[in-house]
Symmetry: C2
């Protein structure tokens, strides 16, 4: 019987818990209820909410009079104004840590910094934050790879923030590199605690186990980063969305299995995975 260790900070973070709770509560409101895109990067949880009458809006246009839930990633302010003009009610489930990034880019702008946002260019959170940067007449770029830094090096005063779920190691590299090149650098570390803790768990756990299972949506950036950290430490790392993807051969002759999960993975899925791993290790 193998030992199965679930990382202490696996699964839902504060912002996701809050967003799901707001979505559940809104299910009793009159009218059609939409979330702007899937409420979290987890297809299974999105289905559970759909059964409660909360549907992800996919084509982008909101019906007059419906209830709209802004998910934890947040949205650009002009999009929010559009929604408020049409919807009967806008429920803002933007994670407070994401709101802090919106404030940070505007503060850096007021202080005269060119903004570097360390994050994924196409991530909804980043798109929302860029909207706030534009709103406060700031200038800046998104840095997704070292390559993207070039543009920032032309500026003398650079202010750095991060997508809340960024990889700490990459953030550290970007900041270190910028510090050498620009005259003045200001850094507001907006990586949320839940992200740091979850990544630290992987650094701790992955080298100690024979197999490491990372659970979370394939479209979830923070889960993909957990997987990439895990893979770099332990080649027997697997990224799955559900227990059904587990394969018996991964667990042959295995003594210790580690499990972690992205911020958008509900506890019930982690529990299912754990039980399935237990069976496969019997």
């Amino acid at each position: 019987m193998a030992e199965i260790i679930v990382a202490p900070h696996a699964g839902f973070c504060f912002g996701v818990k809050r967003a799901v709770k707001l979505a559940e509560e809104s299910s009793s409101l009159p009218g059609k209820i939409y979330t702007l895109g899937p409420i979290i990067h987890n297809p299974q949880e999105v289905n559970r909410l759909r059964e409660m009458g909360v549907n992800p809006l996919t084509n982008g246009s909101v019906e007059e009079g419906s209830v709209v839930i802004v998910r934890s990633h947040g949205i650009p302010p002009d999009r929010e104004r559009e929604l408020r003009a049409v919807a009967s009610q806008v429920i803002d489930a933007t994670c407070p840590y994401v709101k802090a990034v919106h404030e940070a880019v505007c503060r850096l702008t007021r202080e005269g910094y060119f903004v570097v946002l360390v994050g994924e260019k196409n991530h909804p959170e980043v798109i929302g934050t860029l909207g706030y940067l534009k709103e406060c007449n700031g200038k800046g770029i998104v840095v997704e790879s070292a390559e993207d830094l070039k543009e920032a090096l032309r500026h003398e005063r650079v202010g750095v923030v991060a997508q809340t779920t960024q990889n700490e190691k990459f953030f550290k590299e970007v900041v270190g590199e910028l510090a050498l090149w620009v005259r003045e650098l200001k850094v507001i570390n907006t990586i949320c605690n839940a992200t740091s803790e979850r990544q630290e768990d992987v650094y701790e756990l992955a080298p100690k186990v024979d197999v490491m299972i990372v659970v979370g949506g394939k479209n979830s950036g923070n889960t993909r980063r957990l997987y990439s950290i895990s893979k770099s430490l332990n080649p027997n790392s697997y990224h799955i969305e559900t227990a059904q993807e587990l394969r018996a051969e991964w667990f042959k002759g295995v003594n210790r299995v580690g499990i972690t999960a992205g911020a958008s993975t509900p506890d019930w899925i982690i529990e299912e995975v754990k039980e399935a791993v237990e069976k496969l290790c019997e």
Copy 2:
């Protein structure tokens, strides 16, 4: 015959050139002429100036009416006041880039930051800068190794500067680490250009040659750092002060020799070393 490559930025930097020039010019002044400690970290150059009547002050007490030269490293402001009360003239040869560090720590203090000065605790430049930090009622620490960082992590807002001749790689590490731990970080990169260029030369040159010679005072921090970078890239690296220290066996069967020198090494010493290496490679 081996190829001998002298690094393009080897030797005297702007601040050292300026200080030596001021010392030479002051040699014609009436009265005794002192530099506060050796004008540069290079015993040979100090001897050359001694012959011109400019003597390093070793015991610290200045004779009434003498001329005192503050060397490029700078001094704490209270020490400067003491000197002005006694000396007939104080010639301030503090490097302008060092003055910029003095200003930076006070600016960070005014802006409410706890100051981290990346540097050597016992280096005269660092002692001078700490004097300015105290003068403007600032609080801060010197970080010489990763270990020293702990104290800074207890502060929410941290401002970072560097000794002008710091190792860029270490500076980058310190900044990256701090960025992950403190809420707000401001970095003013005060490593001088000459230091960056000299270090980049070594990264470029050391891996390409069979033997790397680093010339400079054994008591010169910036030379020791060049040597340590060189040694990490090429085990056949040697730190010497003068051509007399070169050993024939270092150059047996060698095709390419690299030479670099710290900021306080005069050209005539580099030239002597180059000629001696040529002879040993014949």
